[in-house]
Symmetry: C2
Subunit: 516 residues, 2 copies
């Protein structure tokens, strides 16, 4: 068995059975082995950032890694921005990168580069294979490392000659690291704070944002009066009717400070102290009150949901009910102009249960967000690392992970352009993904941010750099060019009609919602 086959068999033995790839010559032995070793779903992407973003979306839904297969340093380079998002989401990913054959490394061939240096920028674990017979053990170690905890990108760099050389037996099924519940002292301390009478809150991230953690948080809130907040950049938030809804920490620092005002204690559950997305002249970075003390119930390495359940018990909150009187499901916005808010109302009204929302709506997101609160239970995946070009690939990966569920990518026209190649893979794989492009023909968020950084009036040249019209992007044509059926909506009614069809039918589809 050659190294490529050994690698493939080791991945499968470790239940890594999806490989998102954009391979080159150095990876051809691995590709060739797909036909000899059954069990790996191989998905081709036409740009590497699609592979890494999809692996992130997949990991968020299944809490296990997909593999990515990329070509040398430059192929990995194209994947780094979305690996950055995966890193911030603590998503497990096994990143396989081909390298030149070892004897070729003595020469400065055109594609030679320091792959390890590229890899270290985003990976929590990197190994460069030094012998062909290490390949099985190293691949098993990579899978294990990807789980952390917390999850991380584990990169294995595989020289081409090790792929084509004999490599011995596949590696073992490595044990999966366990996430431990927080120790009881941390739970007791949190309970003491919540019963102290001082204004206190919980800030949830990671697994604490899933239903189990939310239910426990709701009981705690009901029993103790604690305010419960959610990290807006957590990997995955379960949301919708019947679920306790924590307050999302707002994006801009003024609103975030207002939301957190008055707190004397903030108990962190797999979360970091809350910080502004960007810094601005004369503002603090931390958005919690200056006299707010931070306490850790569960670190990112620990099981925050288990910690919340223990805390609920410690607070004797078992008999309390979470306050669930959330907003009603919105009415369809018939007869209105098409705005982000109107699109949000239509989506909230029509969303099916179990939908997955990959949210990269950027400046339109705030107007959509409240309208989804009353929709049936669904998952919400944000851009955890703030690196643009995540929404479409993450939707692709989520759809690969969660068959039978409708996936919706809420995209802006600006952010969608970074990794629009995702649409082709959605078409090839026949995935049930609906991309909603909120087209305002601008980098609207930058218009807002420009003023916030203290810049004086925006002149015509500056305006040209945040205007992405001239020419307008035609997303219907872009989608059709990659095999995805698409429609354009200019009014709320057109959007309702297109979105209703998309919810009823299966398969990839794009709706350009012109909200300019």
């Amino acid at each position: 068995m050659n190294g490529a086959e050994c690698l493939l068999r080791t991945l499968l033995a470790n239940e890594v059975d999806l490989c998102l790839m954009n391979p080159g010559t150095s990876e051809m032995q691995f590709v060739c082995a797909l036909d000899r070793v059954p069990g790996m779903r191989a998905v081709l992407c036409l740009f590497e950032g699609v592979c890494s973003g999809a692996a992130d979306g997949y990991a968020r839904m299944l809490a296990k890694p997909a593999a990515t297969l990329l070509h040398l340093g430059p192929g990995l380079a194209n994947a780094l921005a979305n690996f950055h998002n995966a890193r911030k989401a603590r998503s497990p990913v096994v990143s396989l990168v081909g390298e030149h054959a070892t004897q070729h490394l003595l020469y400065d061939a055109p594609l030679s580069s320091r792959i390890e240096a590229f890899a270290r920028t985003v990976s929590g674990w990197v190994r460069v294979l030094e012998r062909a017979d290490q390949i099985g053990a190293a691949a098993a170690a990579a899978v294990q490392a990807s789980f952390g905890p917390p999850g991380q990108v584990a990169t294995l760099i595989v020289p081409a000659d090790y792929s084509w050389s004999p490599a011995g037996e596949p590696g073992p099924a490595a044990p999966r690291p366990v996430r431990h519940a927080p120790d009881s002292a941390a739970v007791r301390e949190a309970a003491r704070i919540l019963s102290s009478g001082q204004p206190a809150g919980l800030l949830l991230s990671g697994s604490a944002l899933l239903a189990r953690g939310l239910r426990a948080s709701g009981r705690i809130a009901a029993a103790t009066g604690a305010r419960v907040f959610a990290d807006r950049f957590g990997a995955r938030l379960e949301r919708g009717a019947g679920l306790f809804a924590p307050v999302l920490v707002p994006y801009f620092p003024e609103a975030a400070e207002a939301a957190l005002a008055g707190l004397k204690h903030l108990i962190l559950v797999e979360a970091q102290p809350p910080v502004s997305f960007f810094a601005y002249p004369g503002r603090r970075s931390c958005v919690a009150p200056e006299d707010c003390a931070f306490h850790v119930l569960a670190s990112a390495e620990e099981d925050g949901a288990a910690g919340l359940e223990a805390l609920s018990q410690e607070c004797a909150a078992g008999g309390f009910s979470a306050p669930l009187a959330g907003p009603a499901r919105p009415e369809l916005p018939h007869g209105l102009p098409l705005t982000a808010g109107a699109a949000g109302r239509a989506i909230g009204a029509l969303l099916p249960e179990g939908a997955i929302i990959s949210d990269e709506a950027v400046s339109s997101g705030g107007d959509i967000w409240p309208h989804l609160a009353g929709a049936p239970p669904h998952d919400h995946l944000p851009v955890s690392g703030g690196s643009i070009g995540h929404g479409l690939p993450a939707a692709l990966g989520a759809a690969l992970a969660a068959k039978g569920r409708k996936t919706i990518a809420l995209e802006a026209d600006g952010s969608g352009m970074y990794t629009l190649q995702s649409l082709w893979t959605m078409a090839r794989e026949g995935l049930d993904v609906v991309a909603v492009i909120l087209a305002n023909r601008r980098y609207r968020i930058l218009e807002i941010e420009m003023r916030r950084t203290g810049a004086p009036a925006i002149g015509p040249l500056a305006s040209g750099m945040i205007d992405i019209g001239r020419p307008d992007l035609d997303w219907v044509k872009l989608a059709a060019g990659m095999g995805v059926p698409a429609a354009r909506a200019l009014t709320a009614d057109e959007f309702i009609a297109a979105f209703a069809v998309a919810m009823k039918e299966s398969g990839p589809r794009l709706i350009e919602a012109v909200i300019a």
Copy 2:
């Protein structure tokens, strides 16, 4: 004057007057300053890899840097693949990357990353600003560093608060480093070898591939019988009727070894010893004969063209004429099926003088290449670092550099997808670029390479990973979606008609040549 304005003024004082950008919040002060400080051409790209590839194409044509302006680590990450190509082409580029405000670096905000680590993978010079008042001097130093020699990517990382803080005076117009002619001992040694009677050759790269070096090489070849070769990955080759044509070192090692067979001496002129692009089982990486000795006439730091002129003089070759009897201009391929060769003949027959060809035709390139030899003089820009996604951005940058000249991107359908966002900027800027997409619906090169790496028969799953049909890409729609008029050609006559119109009219245009 704040730091952003100081930075902008320093660039202009150093004749850096083009900035290719995809800015974010941290860079908004720079964008805003564009309206206060006249003289900078600001060009917006919708993906960062377009910025870096365009800066490379621009530098190859003008031998001076453009600036790129990118947003934090992930923005830089998206540019790295084409910066890799710039690095290998020794192109000067001033890469400006915004960083969070310094006080914000204490917190692990979502977009926080180690920007310097990203930058070092491709940059020969990196500086992280440590005080606002360094900005002028540092920017001048970055421009100076970009020139090398040899040229390199010089990255300056600018925290947002230094952009909005007072920063003192702009930096000076820094002296440009001089490329020295090789010393006379190297010239005499090369002349001694060429007169030794042993089989000897010259291998040209860098500036030796421009007209001045080619003319001198032609005289040397005529006078001494030396065989003259060109690095196929050199940044820019001047080519066409009336120019001496060195032999391009072939891509595959068997052909390269055959081309170089018999040489006892190879004299390197800004070139490295010739090496195979990839390694293969049982083959040497170096493609020169094992008993071939290498000699350096000019290093990459030196002026190879001056070295060749000195060598021509030393060989008393002044009275000799380069052998110019190249191939005649091809006939138009009327009535033929559309193949890469037929497209090449049409291009060779219709190419105007002074055209610039950005060549990322990959597996179609070899069939096009010979037909351009007899065309009027033109420039040929290859993918120097082998990193795919270079052809369209480099064409964009070359067109920005060389007004009044027709630029042609020879693209494959696979490679074109990595940075297709280039088309939008071509449309916005009204650039005179014609993108020819050679659509074979496959990663054809990988089909060839897969067999070469010793892989056995290609099964259906492996075949699916090199097949980029299912669905076919529709490049006419993709182009139209970004505002570029496009046509599809299915026969040689349709291609001739479309290409003839494109040569006559000005402005961006795309031709999908279906050669499947």
